[in-house]
Symmetry: C2
Subunit: 245 residues, 2 copies
DNA sequence: TCAAGTTAAATTGTCGACAAACGACAGTTT
DNA sequence: AAACTGTCGTTTGTCGACAATTTAACTTGA
C-alpha cells in the first residue's frame, strides 16, 4: 500500500521544497555533527555570535538551533551565558540506559503483540550487515550509529510513537557521549551474534522472550559503557572547558 | 535519611536568583496556563505577533516560549505557519499512558530499592490531603494537578533524573488534554483510597509489590481517560480550529 | 452559481542594532 | 595577604524593521 501514484496532488515532488525554516535545522545538523564527531567536546562553549559569524547568518537561527539541540539533550543553556555542550557523567549514562531499558523492553514486547515482527526482520538483517560492514573499516562512530539504528527499527515498529520520541532523544545523547570512545568494546562478530539473539527472541512470538532478550542485551551494553566512563572520570576528574568558535 | 542538614553545600539559597531570561519563561508560563485552563483549545493558532502585541514585548521572547512549549509537547509548529495548540487524540493518550506506565512502574521499584520510601511518605500524605481538598470545591483542574504531583514525588525521589524529565513532559501533556474534561471520573475519596494503596505497597519494601500497585493504578486511569476521549472523538470528529489572540 | 486566477493583507523567518548582564582584572581597604 | 569593590570588554536578551511566504479576499470567466 501507499505505493500508488497520488493523482490528486502536484505531479513530482522533484525537489524537496526547502523551507526557509530549514536554516535553523541545517545549523542544528551541523552542530550535531560537530558534537557526535567529537570536534566539540563536553563543556565546550557554543557561542551564538561566533557560530553566526562563521556560518554567515544572523544570530536568530543559531539561537533556534541551540534551543533545538537543548531539548534534544545535546546542549545546555545557562541564563545570560549561552550554550554549552552537555557534560555527561557515568551516572547520567546509567540513568539513560535504565530508561532505555524500560522503553525497549516494552517496545520489543509490543512489537510481538501487534504482530509486526515479520515486517521488520528483513530490515533488521540489513541493518546488521551495515553494522558489521562499518566496523570493518574502523569507523566506530558509524558502527554505533548503525547499532542504534537497529534498535530504533524495533522501537519504531512497536507502534507507540512516544516510545520512539524518547528513544531518539536518548539515542542522540548516547551517540554524543560515545564520541569520546576510540575503541570498540567487543569483537564486531560477537556483537552481531548478540543482535541475532534478539531477532530470534522476537521470532518466537513470545512477549516474555522478547522482553528477556532486550533486558539481557541492553544490560550488557549498559555495564560496559558505564564502566568505561567510570574509569574515564577517574582519570579526568574535571576536564576544563575549551573555548571553541 | 536525607533529613540531616547538608553541611557541605552553601547554607541558604536566601535570594532566588532571578534571571533576565525570565521573560520567555513568564510568557511560556502564561501560555501554559491558558492551555491547561482550556482558554486555548487544541488546534487553536498561537500567533507570535498577536501574543507579542498583547503582552507588550517583541516577538523574539514569544518565539522562544513557543519553542519551549513545543519541546514540552504542548504546541506544534508548522514551517512558515507558526504555532498551534497540540491536538491530542485518544490514541495519543493511550501511548502516553503506556509510556507513563513503564516509567512509573520502574520508578516505584527503584524508590523501594534505594530505600527512599520513608523519606517521601509524609510528603505523599500531604499531597493526598491537597488532592481531596481541591476536589471539594469542584476544581477539577487543580485536583488533576495534585494527582500528578503525587506521582511526581515518587518519580522524583526514585533517583533517576531521566525518569523525571520524561514524566514532566508527559504530565504537562496529560494536564493539557484533561483541560477538556469537566467532570471527575470517580469519587474523590475513592481516588484517595487508591493512592493509599500505592503508599501501602511502597511501605512493604517489596519491589514487585510496588510495581504491581503502579501497574494496577495507572492501568485503571488509562482505561478511564482513554475511553472518555474515544467517546469525545466520536462526537467531535474534527473540531475546527479557532483563531485566538 | 461556482471555479479558477489574481491581488492584497497578514504572518512568519531573518537581520542588524542596542542595552543589560556576566567574567576578568585591577585597585582599594581591612 | 585576603577580601571586597569598581571598571572594562565580551556575550547574551531584546527590540524594531525588512523580505519571503501563506492566507484571504476579490475579480473574472464559464
Amino acid at each position: 500500500m501507499a505505493s500508488l501514484p497520488d493523482m490528486t496532488s502536484k505531479p513530482p515532488p522533484l525537489f524537496p521544497r526547502l523551507a526557509r525554516d530549514a536554516l535553523s535545522q541545517r545549523i542544528a545538523q551541523a552542530l550535531t555533527e560537530a558534537i557526535v564527531s567529537g570536534r566539540l567536546k563536553p563543556g565546550d562553549r557554543v557561542s551564538e555570535s561566533a557560530i553566526a559569524r562563521e556560518m554567515g547568518t544572523s544570530r536568530a537561527p543559531v539561537r533556534e538551533a541551540g534551543r533545538l539541540l537543548e531539548s534534544a539533550g545535546l546542549l545546555v543553556s545557562k541564563a545570560n551565558r549561552g550554550f554549552f555542550v552537555r557534560t555527561i557523567t557515568a551516572d547520567d549514562l546509567d540513568s539513560i540506559y535504565e530508561l532505555r531499558l524500560c522503553i525497549e523492553r516494552e517496545a520489543a514486547a509490543r512489537l510481538v503483540r501487534v504482530g509486526g515482527v515479520a515486517g521488520v526482520v528483513p530490515d533488521l538483517h540489513l541493518q546488521l550487515d551495515e553494522m558489521t560492514g562499518r566496523s570493518a573499516d574502523g569507523q566506530v562512530i558509524h558502527q554505533i550509529a548503525a547499532d542504534l539504528q537497529f534498535h530504533r527499527l524495533i522501537v519504531k515498529n512497536s507502534g507507540n510513537s512516544r516510545f520512539l520520541a524518547v528513544f531518539d532523544t536518548l539515542a542522540s545523547e548516547i551517540q554524543a557521549s560515545t564520541a569520546l570512545i576510540d575503541r570498540v568494546f567487543d569483537d564486531p562478530h560477537k556483537i552481531a551474534r548478540n543482535h541475532l539473539l534478539i531477532i530470534d527472541a522476537l521470532e518466537t512470538g513470545d512477549e516474555g522472550e522478547a522482553r528477556a532478550a532486550m533486558d539481557y542485551h541492553i544490560g550488557v551494553a549498559r555495564e560496559a559503557v558505564v564502566n568505561h566512563f567510570r574509569v574515564l572520570e577517574a582519570g579526568h576528574p574535571a576536564p576544563p572547558p575549551r573555548k571553541v568558535p
